[in-house]
Symmetry: D2
Subunit: 139 residues, 4 copies
């Protein structure tokens, strides 16, 4: 059991979206903050920086949305599903865009290949969470 | 003209959502990061902290969503409306909840009265932005 | 009196570093988060992006350090001066570097001219706070 | 090899503080953002919230400092050691305080026990990084 699982499982009152799914999404988001922040920095230092501008901008946006998503998911007590739902949608959209842009550069930049993989994992974890029963009333 | 207006107006390529409306929303979000962060801290130090738990949690969530929103709006070049739209919706919802909870405590806590006002201003600025012509295709 | 002044002044228990000086530093830091985030984005869209790499990277670092500094200063209750002191030092150093790099590009990029001014204002506000009597024991 | 190791190792130009030590510190900081954010939220929902106020405030500060530290360490290209050094000092101090406060509550709150452990790991990783040869000139 990861630290995140243990932490989320220890919050009094329970976790309406499911502790395991929430912990997975938090971990995926934090990994995405990391990979996107470093990918943007590495892009900047590449010889073909002119071709990497969109990748830099989208990775920075993705990192910030994932950071906020990880923070809100990390607070299950007194949380509001009506805030989390559109935030997860923004997160899935940002991660998808980063993944697609990184995919274009993955053949020649190792950081883009890793970042694409991490972004797609975050899309998967957040999409799974959006399918939670607790969100049914909001769909 | 504020610094934010000048900064946003100086980004090459223009601002699809409108420079003035974007600058107003950024400033409103950053003020909300400030007021919500301090409101949560002040709540914690009040004698009636037991009654302030929901206010603390919602203000913390609101600060984080406003922070991410201010950051993404501050990057008009290479930005993606399909990310910004749900993020603004999350922001309006978080600010509305904080404002409503702060309103309950405003009669006896000065920080809640100020925070309610700042949150409502942010709801206004972000709602105005959601009405931008550029979002028409996403609605 | 600004919202920040009102908020900080309303925190129970007082503000060891002085409410007015803390509020000024918070406002300066949040303006710096804004200007540095937009400056990095505008740099990316300039024709001379190759010359702007250091400016982009330093502005991103500056925005993140200012964001954390604004948040910690916004929580005077139960705060710890031994954390705030080195954080303010990191903030002064990051803002100084951003200001100096922006100064090199200010003649040809309006966003760098504004960002330099905002960064220098933040250096001033944080340096003033580092001189607070309450920090004497840590120097 | 973790994703973080791979990402940091792929940044052009090398990593003055050492790729492996930097990656370890980033991962430790991001885990601390997670545990401290959830610990503060769980504290809020406990029956003894009145006794948990300091723990909540210190965990929130710790999460924000660790977040900024993880972000700056994730940008080795064009980074400035004179900013990172005091930021790491702030991080070690914030994590130490959170760990000590959580330790007081660990016997009766499982989230405090986990959070103490995560904070101490972050103290270890950041202290190790502060000992890097590249910082010698700043000491």
């Amino acid at each position: 059991m990861t630290d995140t699982n243990e932490m989320i499982g220890a919050v009094p009152g329970g976790v309406p979206l499911g502790a395991r799914a929430v912990a997975s999404a938090i971990d995926a988001c934090l990994r995405c903050v990391q990979s996107c922040t470093t990918c943007a920095n590495a892009d900047l230092a590449e010889d073909d920086v002119v071709e990497m501008r969109r990748c830099i901008a989208q990775c920075l946006d993705c990192a910030d949305v994932c950071d906020a998503t990880a923070r809100l998911l990390s607070r299950p007590a007194y949380s509001e599903l009506a805030v989390i739902h559109p935030l997860l949608q923004a997160c899935v959209r940002a991660c998808t865009s980063s993944a697609e842009e990184c995919a274009r550069h993955a053949p020649h930049h190792a950081h883009c290949a890793v970042c694409e993989r991490v972004c797609r994992a975050c899309v998967g974890a957040c999409t799974a969470l959006l399918g939670a029963e607790a969100f049914a009333a909001l769909r």
